[in-house]
Homo-oligomer: 387 residues x 4
């Protein structure tokens, strides 16, 4: 096969590393891209762990220092899935080394870091992308088409919430996802960043916010640092939780639309409830991750008496990405959002352009995240810089 | 008020008596009819019970023998809500006395009785009606309009089930609803009769059936005879259950449509799950009693990619009956089906015609019920006489 | 019947007048109260209109000036369903005349009026109530029982929205519900007041808010003043809309819970979407008006692997009010919330106590409404006075 | 890696070939099996087509005659995904050559073929399996655990339907799936076979059936033979449709449970509606393919007043197979059912046993299919041989 290869070096091999690895592995099965992903090397600090992950997930080699990936000549693309506090350093080094980059969200610990990352990729002229995977759900992409085509009319409202419940037990330990130095924030950067991206994608730019954040459980037992969604406490010692358990904000968009957003890890019973509704002058859409293949659509043009939200299974050939998979009604799942991203990324590299969402989106997202934090701290409305 | 009065004499004052009484009482509040219902008299065998019911529900007088209602000159309409084994005698006597009649379903214990009842009302020229209340749900009536207008195209399929679970406890007593001499059948005449009526209303005449019936609990403690949905066992003695606990049948309609029907009182967790779906060449509808205000509608004419079942809240002025009640989105309930029937009945009496469904519908329903019983007993397909 | 009578004089006979009238009429059918409501007189300015309403709805007499109701010796209870700008004057006069009072929500145009109304009824020692009907939905009342019993644990979150879409057409006229002098506010007092009441009922007192309001369509054709949900424009002239089309706020409760609230009349496709979710440390509940008989309940005590939100049809005898109506699974509707209120009001009068929610609740609600308005205007957090 | 390899030769490369190929490719990523699948060779008659498929899906070689796969020494497992009329010949040859076999459903054109296939694999002592993928949905497998543990009590009812709508256009051509000589039956073997398998898996053995079948559109334009779900008519000529468009049957199980089953390709709006409900004496389950990760569960042991169907997202580590994939609430899709089958098959081969469902299940399924066809033709109940 004479296709140009894109040799990938990935940093991090936990939840996101698994999702990304699978996407690269599965991509050629479903899509015909102009370039071909090659799973070249994976990096992690723990040699036993990273070696096992490389074997299991199909990476050709491994490194125990991400710097080696950046240095290697046989790497074209750096995929950053390590904790948030490592993103900026890795991305900037990779850009300087002329590597293309895809980075997990949130882009950085704060807006300043994000801006520097954007400047670095711009200066280097590499392809860059941020991994907001929900944009790549066929139902959401179809909603975008409906909005862009004007079928919903002028947008008046967006409401979204992203609810989880995995840290509600006070004995759940102080894992790295609950530490500000590593993550920058808690629920905010983890979950709310997704909702903000969908807001920017579907509704418009957010211009001002008023927010609040709270940490319901302020001390937790110290736990294993490697942990994620199923960690165990490792002793009697406790530490301070310095990130938010929950966040909410109201906002205005540049098109006069009003927004209401909420994210929490204290939404008992909500394992992963990521939902939104958008109301326009001519129609509305609703979406929920738990039934991610469905889009609820209301159209004012439906005949009087027969109007209502219809449930569209976005699994037909006409729906974005869906034609690559299975016949109508045979649903896809969470992992396919990453395959779709990988597809867009490979096409971007083939055509030497940065697909959406990219580091500019990551930076704008970070500006909103930071504005909400500032607003929460200072208890006042905060404007988001527009450019 | 100079309106002509329709003076009602009602037999029976339990569940159905309550529903009918409420309907007459509430009717003038919601509808302007050309005639006015007057709650003249109620009949029941137990004097204390019937007197208390009359007071509570607003009947002007009571009788302890239904024959007195038929004899009284100040009664224009006999409403039969007593057990099934009394329907024929009362209805025939009422017809002979020139009274209009509304009768609860099933019309009779068997098709022969039903036929004699139909002959009696035809001969007497009185207005007659059978109380299949689900026809009067706005969502179902709207479905009928959609079908009649051809929006669903040629009908291919109907599937319906009516599931309850109130007699699953083996200690639940042998109440009158579980006795063949009183009811004719069990689940079949009680629940399946409703599904058959909806089938005849929406899809067409059933021409042949293959059915099965079963009695899961064959003996039960003897219980109070007055009981209905919440009776208590009264002793140690047990009796044979001689009616069906559950019934199912497949059938063909006169328009080539295929039907699948099921009813049971052993559907654990289903307090009152009355559902159907109809598929035509151009569209489909789904309905469920638990959300009785909603109709699910699929239309082939929706744009490709935006096709799906839409949920219509049939609470708008344009929907049948809905304009009499509340603004859109303010739902109505079970009892309103009876108010809607009472409205149709009063209009029928005002215009001296028998609204649908009437005794002919009751008789045709009974023919299907009986065919299913025969089919079940003889384990073969049974034709339904068409006329 | 020797029961003490409560003779009612009602002001206003449109949407709410109809709902209240029906409730009084239907109450004795379903409930046995210690006192008996008597529909004595109704008041409205248009004689032809009020006379027709009295006839249709079953009121014994009518007046063209509400003051006559207050003066009449044969009136025990004043029911205020006229526009918001009339509430204070009528209620204070009624209290001074020693009448019991039930008043539609919002209690007043502003908190000062509401406070004076509360002082008046307190001083007069009459029974008073405010008509927040959603508290009387069986599913919501059952949710309250679950919360009070501790089954949901400590409450962390409440999110609620109330969405309608009946004024989205720019040609929809400037009816009285869109005029600040008559209503005080738009969506806020009409819809959000309901959500605030549910928040106070279920979650706790709101201590501070940050809100925003918007008027999407700022000028409308002048329309008939009598109109409500289906008015027509009456000419070419336009007027300024000086009330909100939409409102949203975030808040904190006295128990550390976080709240997110939104109401709009620009939620296309949402005829009457009134929803909330509450998350506690041990469980969660969800409710939606469109399926008002259902409560979604999640309990942490369910076995691992079998945990999930369960849909409870709150139509069983064990559920609040449900035993008065129909067997399990036979749903009730919007109007029954008013019957349940009437039931509580009559019991309150019989026992000479003011049931919840009463004018104190109305006043507290108004304080929240006003704080949101102030917050929106001044773009800052506003504290709600606690007492 | 020292793992024993299982070298696979697959026949057919369309819809099922794609699903199977993907499963083998993805299996090692998610599961650690004791043996390792190797995608050795794929067979198809059209050389260009099979070559392209091999390249695209990752097969190491291809053949244009399935017999070559059976002959090759470097093949351990034959995977049969070609049309139904080829299953028996291939399977019997493969068994005689000592190959393990997995075969798509339905096992054969008729029960006699199926029996011969079962005899062949039994005689050869090879591992065999039939590809009823819905057994491998985590939610369904969890339902099986609940039933087996007795949590639902004695089973009284199962109702299931499988509805599609892809051939409703009369201009849809006479593809091979509509030809009896190739498929044996239409909807029956394609869709109903799945429901029958779930019935046998979850409820018990079916002992007798009464069925009906119908072909709504009896002639169709001749079309391309390769086609499946999206074929085009190729000319003016028409041919007779000799398979069923729709089928329904009622049945009894060996444990007294009653069954109601329906499958159709004429269920407008139902792209792939595969649903069932099972009612037992102590609880019930409901499942639907469109939300395949969810199981609806009702348990009688829930507290009175708090009883209802709960929606369990079977994506937690405790649920079958789910731990191999993503954190709770991150759903999987259709293709994962095949990965789960591949996992079971590899374990079966590792341990030299035939997992369920295997050719015996295929044979028993075929006996039910055939009984329904006979019943439909002869219009009488037909017994299913038990052994």
């Amino acid at each position: 096969m004479a296709k140009r290869q894109v040799r990938i070096g990935m940093v991090g091999y936990k939840f996101m590393g698994k999702a990304h690895s699978h996407a690269y592995r599965d991509l050629p099965f479903y899509f015909d891209n102009d370039v071909q992903p090659v799973m070249q090397a994976i990096a992690g600090r723990d040699e036993a762990g990273v070696k096992a992950a490389a074997d299991k997930m199909g990476w050709a080699s491994y490194e125990t220092d991400w710097r080696r990936l950046v240095e290697r000549d046989d790497i074209d693309l750096i995929d950053i899935g390590s904790p948030n506090n490592t993103h900026a350093e890795i991305a900037i080094a990779a850009a300087q080394a002329g590597k293309h980059i895809i980075c997990e969200k949130p882009l950085a610990l704060n807006a300043d870091e994000a801006r520097r990352m954007l400047e670095a990729v711009d200066k280097a002229g590499v392809v860059h992308m941020i991994c907001h995977n929900y944009r790549f759900v066929p139902a959401i992409r179809y909603a975008k088409q409906l909005i862009d085509s004007g079928q919903l009319g002028k947008i008046y409202h967006m409401r979204a919430h992203y609810l989880q419940d995995w840290i509600m037990d006070p004995d759940f330990p102080l894992v790295w996802r609950l530490r500000k130095d590593i993550c920058g924030s808690g629920t905010h950067g983890d979950l709310m960043a997704h909702s903000i991206d969908l807001a920017r994608y579907l509704t418009g730019e957010i211009t001002e916010v008023s927010g609040m954040m709270n940490t319901f459980i302020k001390q937790r037992p110290l736990g294993e640092m490697s942990g994620g969604l199923s960690a165990k406490a490792s002793g009697e010692q406790v530490g301070e939780v310095d990130v938010d358990d929950a966040v909410a904000f109201i906002c205005r968009f540049d098109n006069e639309a009003m927004g209401v957003f909420e994210a929490t890890r204290f939404g008992k019973g909500n394992r992963n409830t990521n939902q939104f509704e958008i109301n326009g002058s001519k129609g509305s859409v609703r979406w929920s991750m738990e039934h991610m293949n469905d889009l609820q659509l209301y159209l004012d043009t439906d005949k009087e008496g027969s109007q209502g939200f219809r449930t569209i299974s976005c699994t037909e050939t006409i729906h974005p990405y869906a034609g690559a998979y299975w016949p109508a009604g045979h649903i896809i799942g969470y992992e396919h959002t990453f395959i779709n991203i990988a597809h867009e990324l490979m096409q971007g590299i083939a055509e030497n352009r940065s697909p959406s969402p990219n580091f500019e989106d990551g930076y704008r997202n970070q500006l909103v995240l930071e504005a909400v934090e500032t607003s929460s701290k200072e208890k006042q409305w905060v404007q988001i810089p527009q450019f």
